[in-house]
Symmetry: C2
Subunit: 550 residues, 2 copies
């Protein structure tokens, strides 16, 4: 049996575009003489479609595309198509107004000869991290394999392979192979977990298996692809698809052995993460109609990293850095920013903010008889710069503003809302400051792309004379160690964290307080790619109004 | 039997503060000789606590407060305490890293004599609209009543009274009365639905019933209280608690009849909604440490309404309006804003933006050889004003910036991100423009509070010469009719909407497109009180990247 497995990149809501991609890949499969063509989870709608599934118009439009794809299947080549499948329609209770959701399932349709031969569904819904599947789907329980050309095919969808029950049921009903469509959002290191759980399923059932994942960026999360096949007689994958690229493979099932090609995966964590960030940014831009990006270049490490990623994602010629020095800017900041821009080949413009700040001081003083000072003056500078960045995007069509706050500073609120937080996308939203440095070092592995001086100088916001981050924050090694426990393990005991990190208890208490009271800044922050197990945003849902502290 | 029912306002995460409130109310119940003291849903944690429930530290701290409250119960007065109740602890799978959530239930503990006598739980979890209970809770199924002083008490929690099954089970197990703790977020008209579904439960079971709701604001939603009791021999409530205020009542159950006092409810929709908005704003401020508010006063109707609400919520002396005229501002705008401020008794400052805009023009021209024009110039003015508003909050402690975008303009993106969208809270986030006018008319019912001229002039952003909203947008009556179908019923067919509203199909198409492409602005918008069935924000989860159109 030949299985044509298509690791593709859909766009959420683009039913016609996604259907065209599916039809073209299916046609290639037919040409290759494939017996089965399979796509990742929710390939036709894109994943996750969220409340779009509450729209009757969306579901009707979806049915039209499904029907066309099913109609065009041949007798010889089956299509396994993952889509939401609804049984019945919404009913609204006449007096209470309560709406009964029709049972909509996260499904896979097994189609051939112009017909749907069987419907498969997901039982263990993805309802943690970034996903709310229980909001829109009902759990499916009628698991049964499909016999096709003498082979009994089980189709466990996504999280149904993370538990043994569904595969066990399929095996008990005769399944000889497991083909699993997935939409598994990336975090660093997740691929190893996926291989491991699939190895468990293969060992338990004695069935070879395909794990077929989506690839591409969608708002706050990204899919890494990395699809793979396993057989019972080998412990390592017998086929490996690319990370961060579309790839189609014609897998062959012979004598119970499933095999295909091996595309090399990224060599290390930082290569992997840099690809993740580039794909996240590229897809956010291209799927939303942006071809160019702009950002403030401060001469610091965060904006340097974002500029480097943007140049890779969009092409250096499509990236513009704005230098916006003030009286507090060091001369090396401007030099460093220019050196970076030269290394990358990106455009720059220089817009000094002294005159703006002077006009602001005069306006303010005229009403309040004093100039803005302290935090007011610091935030003001960030907001004037943020307004310049946005003006540049307004004046230049198809240009996205990028914001450059790392996870450490956003965690403790060391950033200005409506200032440096301005922007439609934040490529480094889920990188701690220490990780920003690690990634920069990796980018510089062969030659100096990010100028050495940017990496070696002490971090500074340069919003006050001789300011350093270390005036307000603990050392980033300490800060990040504390943040990881607080954010990724929800530990709120300063004593526990102090014990585990060696940090001073009062320092930890201050950090925990800063995390809590800055939830409002993160509520209004730009999206950015999830890279870790718990990213800020839809992945971590803390109330704004929250007085919990120990 | 005497039941002391406490409609109270907790703060999310404030375990000690909420516990003190519970203890004090319980003590009052004991003094009144109550047989039972009952509180609304999740009174001890506040509602909804979100991912706080993933924190072991939070759950341990919760247990401590629960144990103290239970320990202090007397033999004579039972305490019905709604809290998350966990069975077991988190387990993390050693190799996959998968975390098994312990079964945590949304529970009510029936306590007396220092002990928990029984545990009750919620089966139908609140997992739509603003809530994600299936993310944190498991459904409870062991429903059974508690016998207390000869009366069998059923305790169906919140959504368990919206279906008949749980009450039926309790009745079958002998329940003679239903006491239901609730955390039911407000939307206009919801109270009537609640009474109706409870009447159904009372009719089905023959049991009198108490519907006890939370009161108070929490981020994006508010609880209206409006608790009530029903008996089998009367169709109308036999007790009615206040809307928008804490209230405790000693209800008496005699011969199967449950009765209490009747506190008048708001007389009409607009009185109700204005109370909702005032409570939402007041609680957001006070629970987050703000005593004062500021906002830009444009002389338009949106900022006028927000100023009026803020004056009522925080006291006029704590509200400051900033007048920030430009060359495009009409003289009547300044006059109207001043007349409003005088009517309300709020502070004002005038900060003209000409000088700032001039400095911006010079800075821009120096680099790009032309002044900002068109949309760039329009957005710039909004961003300069937004920066002034934020500077004022930075310079004045405990001051919250209010933003004033109505639901109509935010729906179609007729607002500037990082400009007039600046602010920590938006009191009119969920009011369409036509509703803004209706509410203003109600506020002016006895005397002119919002100057007549503000209500009668044509809406204008005044960001360009002689600009009117109607230059860019259809008439607000048309726009709002279209928006209601698109947003509240997820209708994406321009033809369907055109047919239902009488609007031009192309106009509808343009509006639908604007809704879709402005999702990114709403993603970064401030929170504000949910007033309708579907509000923007956590209540409506559309992807940013979304190419769906018909």
């Amino acid at each position: 049996m030949k299985i044509f497995a298509c690791q593709l990149n859909p766009t959420v809501g683009d039913l016609k575009g996604n259907a065209a991609k599916i039809a073209a890949a299916y046609a290639r499969g037919v040409n290759f003489g494939a017996d089965v063509v399979i796509f990742p989870e929710m390939m036709l709608t894109g994943y996750l479609p969220g409340d779009l599934l509450f729209s009757e118009d969306f579901l009707v439009a979806l049915d039209i595309e499904v029907n066309k794809l099913v109609r065009d299947t041949t007798e010889d080549t089956a299509l396994i198509l993952s889509v939401p499948h609804r049984v019945g329609r919404h009913t609204t209770h006449a007096t209470t107004g309560l709406v009964d959701k029709p049972p909509t399932f996260n499904s896979a349709l097994f189609c051939a000869g112009g017909k749907v031969l069987s419907i498969h569904g997901k039982e263990h819904l993805f309802n943690y991290s970034v996903a709310d599947e229980k909001r829109v789907f009902a759990p499916y329980r009628g698991h049964a394999p499909q016999l096709w050309k003498g082979v009994s095919i089980g189709i466990p969808i996504c999280r149904d392979v993370w538990y043994s029950d569904v595969s066990d049921k399929l095996k008990a009903a005769g399944a000889e192979i497991l083909l699993s469509p997935n939409g598994s959002p990336y975090f660093s290191g997740k691929h190893e977990s996926r291989v491991q759980i699939m190895q468990n399923r293969v060992a338990e059932t004695g069935c070879p298996a395909l794990y077929l994942n989506l690839v591409g960026g969608q708002d706050d999360y990204i899919f890494d692809g990395c699809s793979f096949a396993l057989s019972t007689d080998e412990t390592k994958p017998t086929a490996q698809f690319a990370a961060w690229e579309e790839e189609e493979q014609l897998l062959v099932l012979e004598h119970g052995h499933l095999k295909g090609a091996h595309t090399p995966l990224p060599k290390n964590k930082w290569e992997d993460i840099s690809h993740a960030m580039v794909m996240g940014l590229k897809d956010y831009c291209h799927k939303n109609g942006f071809t160019k990006a702009t950002l403030g270049l401060s001469g610091g490490v965060d904006s340097a990293l974002v500029a480097a990623l943007a140049a890779e994602a969009l092409g250096a010629e499509n990236v513009t850095g704005l230098l916006m020095p003030s009286d507090y800017s060091s001369s090396h900041s401007v030099d460093d920013a220019n050196a970076l821009a030269k290394n990358l080949g990106i455009h720059t413009h220089t817009l000094p903010i002294q005159a703006l700040k002077g006009a602001f001081d005069t306006t303010w003083e005229g009403t309040f008889s004093e100039k803005p000072s302290g935090l007011t003056e610091q935030n003001l500078q960030a907001r004037l710069r943020g307004s310049l960045v946005m003006a540049f995007t307004n004046a230049n069509a198809s240009t996205l503003a990028l914001t450059t706050g790392n996870k450490s500073e956003v965690a403790v609120g060391y950033c200005t809302l409506y200032g440096d937080m301005n922007g439609g996308y934040n490529p480094i939203k889920d990188l701690y400051k220490t990780e920003v440095f690690e990634l920069c070092a990796w980018i510089n592995r062969d030659k100096e792309i990010i100028p050495h001086n940017i990496l070696s100088k002490a971090p500074s916001a340069e919003l006050a004379p001789d300011q350093k981050d270390s005036d307000s924050l603990p050392d980033y090694n300490v800060l990040d160690a504390v943040l990881k426990l607080a954010i990724e393990q929800n530990i709120w005991s300063a004593e526990t964290i102090a014990k585990q990190t060696g940090a001073n208890t009062q320092v930890v208490k201050d950090i925990l307080r800063l995390i809590r009271i800055n939830e409002y800044k993160r509520y209004q922050a730009a999206p950015g790619p999830k890279l870790s197990k718990i990213a800020f945003g839809v992945d971590r849902r803390y109330p704004l109004t929250n007085k919990f502290s120990l």
